[in-house]
Symmetry: C2
Subunit: 472 residues, 2 copies
Amino acid sequence: MSMSGASRGTGRRTGSGAERLVVIGGDAAGMSAASQARRMKGPDELEIVAFERGHFTSYSACGIPYWVGGDVTERDQLIARTPEEHRARDIDLRMRTEVTEIDVGRGRVRARDVDSGAESWTSYDKLVIATGARPIRPDLPGADAPGVHGVQTLDDGQALLDTLARTRGRRAVVVGAGYIGVEMAEALINRGYEVTVVNRGKEPMSTLDPDMGRLVHEAMEGLGITMVNDAEVTKLLTGDDGRVRAVVTDDAEYPADVVVLGIGVRPETGLAKAAGLPLGNHGGLLTDLAMRVRGQQNVWAGGDCVEVLDLVSGQERHIALGTHANKHGQVIGTNAGGGYATFPGVVGTAVSKVCDLEIARTGLREKDALRVGLQFESVTIESTSRAGYYPDASPMTVKMLAERRTGRLLGVQIVGREGAGKRVDIAAVALTAGMTVEQMTALDLGYAPPFSPVWDPVLVAARKAAVKVRAS
Amino acid sequence: MSMSGASRGTGRRTGSGAERLVVIGGDAAGMSAASQARRMKGPDELEIVAFERGHFTSYSACGIPYWVGGDVTERDQLIARTPEEHRARDIDLRMRTEVTEIDVGRGRVRARDVDSGAESWTSYDKLVIATGARPIRPDLPGADAPGVHGVQTLDDGQALLDTLARTRGRRAVVVGAGYIGVEMAEALINRGYEVTVVNRGKEPMSTLDPDMGRLVHEAMEGLGITMVNDAEVTKLLTGDDGRVRAVVTDDAEYPADVVVLGIGVRPETGLAKAAGLPLGNHGGLLTDLAMRVRGQQNVWAGGDCVEVLDLVSGQERHIALGTHANKHGQVIGTNAGGGYATFPGVVGTAVSKVCDLEIARTGLREKDALRVGLQFESVTIESTSRAGYYPDASPMTVKMLAERRTGRLLGVQIVGREGAGKRVDIAAVALTAGMTVEQMTALDLGYAPPFSPVWDPVLVAARKAAVKVRAS
């Protein structure tokens, strides 16, 4: 075990006035934290060292499906800030350097140069863990064959694009029908593929209730996508060339020239676990509201590697989403820089689209509510994005859950076309404020015929929910 | 004075079990109230008589600019419910019948058949006043000339369309640059006219602060509309044929083949005033939170003829907007039908568009805040509707006002393209909930690259405002 940190100037410098902040992970949460800490304190007061094992920093993983689909033409458009830009702000960024151990007791991390294999320890006064998430890769025969791709990193995206460029066949199978799955289905449709989505759930988009997922299913079929539900993938078949040629489920076989895995992610917390830091039921690090790892004074964590408090259910959950990671980074950087900020929690808002279909949700699904002991009334309404007489008014379905008796809003799901997705923000703010559906019926929302019917679809749902709550 | 009400069966029927509800005004507020009261109580319990002086019921006045502009092809598309449909629900609707007096002491109204001139009294147990608003018509020479049009009613819209069909010249002048003015500018551009907007204000859209109005000014000029600010119209000139030919201001003359007046409206409360009912500083009826006219037990009022409580300033204001009228009607009908409902007030949300320019506001402008004694911090930010790398990401300017010290959100104004307008709903809900801008920075809003940058523009503004508040 090397102790050569001093050779790179990273030993604890007693007598120096500057503290050292070490950041593990160079994407959204980590580099937002580093940047914000730098805004709070200059290099004379705070040295910042950041380790990133990959080739890129601060990129939009959420943008990868649109790059693969061709809406975004250049990989570098997805990069918000390059290593050079970070270094120009006095952040000592070590690329292709993987942290292999956190020694909380002695306040140091061990890092390995990915290319040379050389290891060294770096001491810290303050530590930020932003190790992200890793995609779930099924332990299936053939899952590592050429032609099978994840889409978690920019490298993954490039590899998939390389495969698409090489592949003559036009049959694509997407395994998984969550956000990544449906967005990749759109990307491959845009690239001219025949797309089959194979999904173990009853309906696509298991982040929605099945009745709303059904609407997504039907709309995706309307786009020419073959949707296979209730299907467990058992293996991937390869051809004589070793490349993937089919996806096999319990009862069928789907020919594939390319396979995309979009099964979801898990918190990347191996290092944290080995260091004895507290993990929650979903495998993510547990923090306090200032994003400090519980039980630690000088260790923060944020982004896809932590669990967050769901303000509606009152319980922790894991959500890998760039917007949360950026907020975490902002809070961590403020605190690590000597200021004060908190991240109060989430309400579980998410939006997505497949071609012109918009899908949104916030708060609890029916099964989430039941799991935490909440009884509720549920309503579903049909309305339109604009006044019914206005051109391009498109249908929209809104489902709303409200707590029995109290009438507190518990969740909203929306499926529709243009104007459907971001309407969920109305409910996201109302959830945050703890509003009842009765209160929501009086919300003063923007109205003009090109923007909304005279009763916004969310208000129509609130009115119907309020009637049911009164009778509950 | 005729007392012949009995001849139409409208005298007070002592001994009958049914109460009588009389509604004055057959548009949004009045007919929503009538319909909701009918849902609450059947005809055996509640007789409902509604008077409408015009030809139409329950139509979307907000839709008239889109009908004139050709986006809506048929007048009847704007009619939500016809007189026959109301009558089929056991509402005794008297069209072309104008109420000329309210006798609160004796619980009766006098109505006149517009065509025959015959008058009669109708007694009521409960009364709803929904007399709407009347457009401001300048007392100017030439203002009544052929070719000069308001756009308040369906009849107005038809008259304007008839003029457009007859007129060979292509020069249109719109007087006024509020919502109606800018929407009519779009309508006339869509009809192929050269459009000049003459506006007495410093910038168009005086419902925005002038710095944001400036953005509207520039965008409208970019659409080829001639914008004239700081201009007081002094007269309208007519030609030999008696038709309008020019609009004259203090220092210029604008040739016009057609003139549209979009100067705003005032509450239509002559009847209410004559009956001794309480009016506010803006000329609208004053009600309690159940929409009952103050001091009255069995008289309600709603829609464009009332003042509403502004929840941000704590003072009454007048807002003529269909969405409020519908909510008022719902509340009034519930209460008049023996139930319970309230209208808590407004936060002043409004959206509009001119071609692809979207304009939105909620809460207080700078001058509103100053008028009610609020000190504030103001920030303006530029962002985009989608992730910057996503196709069709369009620029958006967000201005945000927050109270000094408390940081309470006071108002938001947004000018941009697609996706700008309805974003104001985020702020509308936050205002209703009394959130601070610091709290808003943590809002869990929908994020995906086609819908928003990773920090939604409203959050970017909230972050900047929070920084200023901390320093205030």
